[in-house]
């Protein structure tokens, strides 16, 4: 691990990934990202969904060609998947019609390795990763944890220098994920893995702090490296160590601090405020969190990591929820904490119908898109407006996926607030009509 003077495995300079859009500015997923990977280190890319961290992983793997920037693998320009790079997938990506052994041998087959050597190497990898005895099983007979072990064995059997892991444990339950993580780190520390370096993508802060020597924290929209942290703790790490907790707290702070800023200053600010991407958070979830916050033990203020642990939420779920509450003026996010506002308290104390009214007021005050939809409906003589029109407008400012999500959020909230109705079949907004209710059976 003292080979800092040797050539880096991967070096990426000024990497940019953008999608060209006809009508408006390019949609930037990754902007001006630098990354250097040395032998002997585990690096984590930490960020929320949509921060481009998985895109960066695919660029490193050679699966994706960046729009601009320089990607070097062992000093050479990278053109396509390199020999010596293997990947582990979030969804495991096992072939359901191949047995464990056939899945593991896949990469060797592609290399044209002869049958005898294939058998030997796959046997070694299967034993190393603790799958001995499962050779002839099909993936669907295995539990999630066992499946990811197959994914791991399949990657290790080709003896790669660099292992890429795309949220490898996020589809597993907490206990299984912990076991796999510990096993992997143990093998790494005992130098039993045929690897020089590991690059892991995750949205789980604790996972990053548990595993990595270095963490790159990504900001969203566009994806940039917001922070780089070195993790000084030796393995095995203790997640209850105060220094460890402090680091997790700090990272929470980093990740919540910048989100609201991004919302206020989008690259091409539209006068209508259309450019704010919204998350389709259900109103029940919002109400639930507000109630939890107002009650004991939080009494209006909670530490985000603690809250996430208590509610068994991932950062990826909790942060959009918190941000939505902040956007609607029900709560505030500060330095890794969440506070209930006065409006939030009023909402919690209110009855069902009053809650809808309060929600409606907040929605109209803070989400211009809702007002825009309502005013279009009001102007039309038939009191109907096609959703397509708003989607198109949204897509001028954000990716189609974000536009879809934003529209879904607005539909859910607008329905709850009874500001408008939505006909999924016709994809049309309309006004609520009293007589339609009478007719219903």
């Amino acid at each position: 691990m003292d080979q800092t003077f040797t050539q880096p495995l991967v070096s990426i300079r000024n990497c940019r990934q953008a999608y060209h859009k006809e009508a408006s500015a390019d949609l930037v997923v990754l902007d001006d990202v630098d990354l250097t990977l040395h032998e002997g280190e585990i690096v984590a890319l930490l960020g929320r969904s949509g921060s481009g961290k998985s895109t960066l992983l695919r660029i490193v793997s050679g699966l994706l060609k960046p729009t601009a920037g320089e990607v070097k693998w062992r000093g050479q320009d990278l053109k396509g998947p390199a020999e010596g790079v293997a990947m582990v997938f979030q969804s495991f990506a096992l072939f359901p019609w191949l047995t464990v052994q056939e899945n593991v041998e896949l990469g060797l087959e592609a290399l044209g390795v002869k049958k005898d050597e294939r058998d030997e190497r796959s046997e070694d990898a299967i034993d190393l990763i603790g799958l001995g005895g499962y050779d002839t099983a099909y993936p669907k007979e295995l539990s999630g944890g066992m499946r990811q072990r197959v994914g791991l064995a399949r990657a290790l059997v080709v003896h790669p220098d660099l292992l890429l892991m795309d949220e490898p444990f996020s589809a597993l339950d907490v206990l299984t994920a912990e076991t796999l993580r510990t096993d992997l780190i143990d093998l790494w520390m005992e130098k039993k893995l045929p690897l020089k370096s590991i690059l892991i993508v995750t949205h789980n802060i604790e996972e990053a702090v548990l595993m990595a020597d270095r963490i790159l924290v990504f900001s969203s929209n566009p994806g940039r490296v917001a922070h780089e942290l070195k993790v000084p703790f030796p393995h095995p790490r203790n997640r209850f160590d105060p220094a460890f907790r402090q680091m997790v707290d700090d990272i929470y702070g980093i990740m919540t601090r910048r989100a609201p800023k991004e919302v206020q200053a989008p690259a091409t600010a539209a006068p209508t405020g259309f450019a704010t991407p919204l998350y389709p958070v259900s109103t029940n979830l919002m109400a639930g969190l507000l109630e939890t916050l107002s009650g004991p033990p939080y009494h209006g203020r909670a530490d985000l990591p603690a809250l996430a642990a208590a509610l068994q939420f991932e950062v990826d779920e909790l942060l959009p929820l918190g941000e939505t509450l902040q956007l609607l003026g029900f709560a505030r996010l500060e330095e890794g904490d969440i506070f209930l506002t006065d409006t939030g308290r009023k909402f919690v104390d209110a009855e069902t119908e009053q809650r809808q009214e309060i929600f409606s007021e907040q929605l109209r005050a803070h989400v211009p898109l809702v007002n825009a939809i309502r005013s279009v409906i009001d102007q039309r003589s038939n009191h109907r407006a096609p959703a397509l029109r708003f989607r198109d407008e949204l897509e001028d400012h954000m990716s189609p996926e974000y536009a879809e999500e934003t529209l879904r959020a607005v539909i859910t909230w607008g329905r709850y607030a009874e500001i408008f109705e939505y006909d999924e079949e016709a994809q049309q907004f309309s006004l609520e009509e009293e007589d339609e209710e009478d007719e219903a059976e």
Partner: protein
């Protein structure tokens, strides 16, 4: 019971300008076939020694074998076509723009209308040899099988899971390896299901394609179809019953030895991550899997296939995706221009060919006849729905009855309905009934089973908790049908109905004209129009009839079935 989207409805494609081009190109191709066929028609068919067909039942096993062999040969060609055509369409965006609409049109062309010309064409290729006639028959069976198989394969190739694609690229599988490791296995369940549907439909064409009349000559190939044709001509009723019996046995064997084991086996390739409870293993599959001898044979074959599949056969492959790369506008433009020119040329040839003898009046007649046939199809579908929906629902809601009835319905769907025509015809002749009305049921006799078995599947799949909720709220009678059952089975019903109505159009060509000895029965309709034009050797009218019928079928699919299917699947599924 699996339920796959009928290929005629799959995809988000709406009618677009490519359809027009595809229609012209397909018709142009068929016309070219006709042209070549006419060029060679002077070769006397009688130079080929017609083997006489014996009506003695002891010949039937031999005839059955010959017919079955034709079927499997056609299946082989269909598979080859599927693996190449669909792959090409899936890998090349430009090819897909033309190939897929062409496939869509081909699906709707009533291939029976071209029976004579394909026969003459192949006879021309092998003058004086039985080979030509055999190939012609195989070709007709092929055209009844290939399109939906290719469609289902294309469908699978365009919906390959992203993560498996990335894994194949990341581990740098060669295109050949990826094809056998990812593409084919992923497509397998749908492909097997469609192959089985194709074969079920194929028996109909096996029977129809063996005895072909061109002008004054009737050409007969040894097989069950010729046997029936001869029996009809000789008014031999017992022989017809022997033929029906033989066919029942053949279909039963095919069902037990092939259909069931294959469909059960293909479950292995279903893309799901949890082991699902499946039905009992068919006895044939059990035999193959558990018997040492068969296992040994299977392993040997498997090993050879695997080693072929794992060959690299390296071609230059694109492993890295550049999402910013845009297709060259210039090449696109050239490509469009070439396609446009070909379509224009085909269009010009069609007009030239048809206008030499035909008048606008003829188009009017053909459309009017099409309208008659359309009314028949609609009335038949309505009657079939009224009869089979209640029965299917009744059966589907009772697991015991389902287990008994479902295989029978599938079995009956495979039975070639044209073997059942003679008894009907006999009755019509005997009681002097109006052919316009009483020939009609023949069109649906073979395909109505698709409605039945899909409705059974739908009712059987109706969720148990919803049944309990319905019972809890005492929902009964009309309300139960309107709010619960009909929405519950709608997607399944439509899946069956599209197959049935498509089959009915095609069957009209043989069902609207029937004969018993010297008694000829004709109904008014496009099917009879095409059949008569064929008999008279009136090529332009055959072309016209086929074009009009294709247009009717396509319009029917696009305007009625596709929106209905979309609506049903959207409205009746949660989430």
């Amino acid at each position: 019971m699996s339920n796959y989207t009928p290929t005629a409805l799959a995809g988000r494609r709406l009618p677009n300008r490519w359809d027009g081009a595809a229609l012209l190109i397909v018709m142009g191709l068929l016309l070219a076939l006709v042209g070549v066929g006419r060029g060679t028609i002077h070769i006397s068919l009688t130079t080929i020694q017609n083997q006489p067909i014996h009506l003695d039942p002891k010949w039937l096993p031999y005839y059955a074998l010959r017919s079955t062999a034709r079927m499997f040969l056609a299946l082989l060609f269909s598979l080859l076509f599927t693996l190449t055509y669909a792959t090409l369409a899936a890998k090349s965006r430009r090819a897909a723009m033309v190939l897929i609409p062409i496939l869509d049109i081909l699906q709707s062309v009533p291939i029976l209308g071209f029976l004579t010309f394909t026969t003459v064409f192949f006879l021309g290729l092998f003058p004086g040899q039985v080979m030509g006639a055999e190939l012609a028959s195989v070709f007709v069976i092929f055209t009844s099988q290939a399109w939906n198989m290719a469609f289902s394969f294309y469908q699978a190739l365009t919906t390959l899971p992203m993560d498996l694609q990335e894994a194949s690229r990341c581990f740098r599988l060669s295109p050949w390896q990826k094809f056998w490791r990812l593409d084919v296995p992923f497509a397998m369940p749908g492909l097997v299901w469609n192959t089985m549907l194709s074969m079920s439909g194929g028996w109909f064409f096996v029977v129809a394609s063996e005895a072909v009349t061109v002008g004054n000559t009737t050409f007969t190939l040894p097989g069950i179809g010729s046997y029936v044709a001869t029996a009809l001509a000789e008014k031999n009723l017992p022989a017809i019953f022997y033929a029906i019996l033989t066919m029942l046995v053949v279909i039963f064997l095919y069902d037990q030895l092939l259909f069931r084991p294959l469909v059960a086996w293909s479950g292995k390739f279903r893309f799901e991550t949890t082991a699902t409870l499946s039905g009992p293993e068919p006895w044939m599959l059990k035999l193959l899997r558990r018997t040492a001898l068969f296992q040994e044979i299977g392993d040997r074959i498997g090993a050879v296939l695997r080693s072929i599949a794992s060959l690299r056969l390296a071609l230059p492959a694109k492993y890295q995706v550049d999402e910013n790369a845009e297709p060259s506008k210039l090449i696109d433009g050239l490509w469009f221009a070439v396609i446009g020119l070909i379509a224009l040329y085909a269009g010009w040839r069609i007009i030239e060919f048809v206008s030499a003898t035909l008048h606008w009046r003829d188009l009017g007649t053909a459309v009017l006849m099409g309208a008659f046939t359309m009314i028949r199809v609609i009335v038949l579908m309505a009657i079939a729905a009224l009869i089979w929906v209640p029965i299917g629902v009744w059966i589907g809601l009772r697991p015991k009855a389902t287990r008994v009835a479902q295989p029978i319905a599938q079995f009956l769907a495979a039975f070639p309905a044209n073997l059942l025509f003679p008894p009907f015809v006999l009755m019509i002749v005997h009681f002097h009934l109006s052919p316009d009305i009483w020939l009609t049921p023949l069109m649906l006799i073979g395909t109505q089973w698709y409605v039945l078995f899909n409705v059974i599947a739908g009712a059987a799949a109706f969720p148990g908790d919803m049944k309990e909720a319905v019972a809890n709220f005492h929902i009964k009678g009309v309300l139960w049908w309107r709010k619960v059952m009909i929405p519950g089975i709608l997607p399944y019903f439509i899946t069956g109905a599209i197959t049935a109505s498509g089959g009915a159009w095609n069957a009209s060509i043989v069902a609207e004209v029937a004969s018993w000895g010297n008694d000829n029965l004709t109904a008014h309709g496009l099917g009879a129009y095409i059949a008569q034009a064929t008999n008279n050797g009136d090529t332009p009218r055959v072309v016209l009839g086929v074009v009009v019928m294709s247009c009717f079928v396509i319009t029917f699919n696009r305007i009625l079935w596709r929106p209905l299917y979309d609506y049903a699947t959207r409205r009746t599924t949660l989430g």
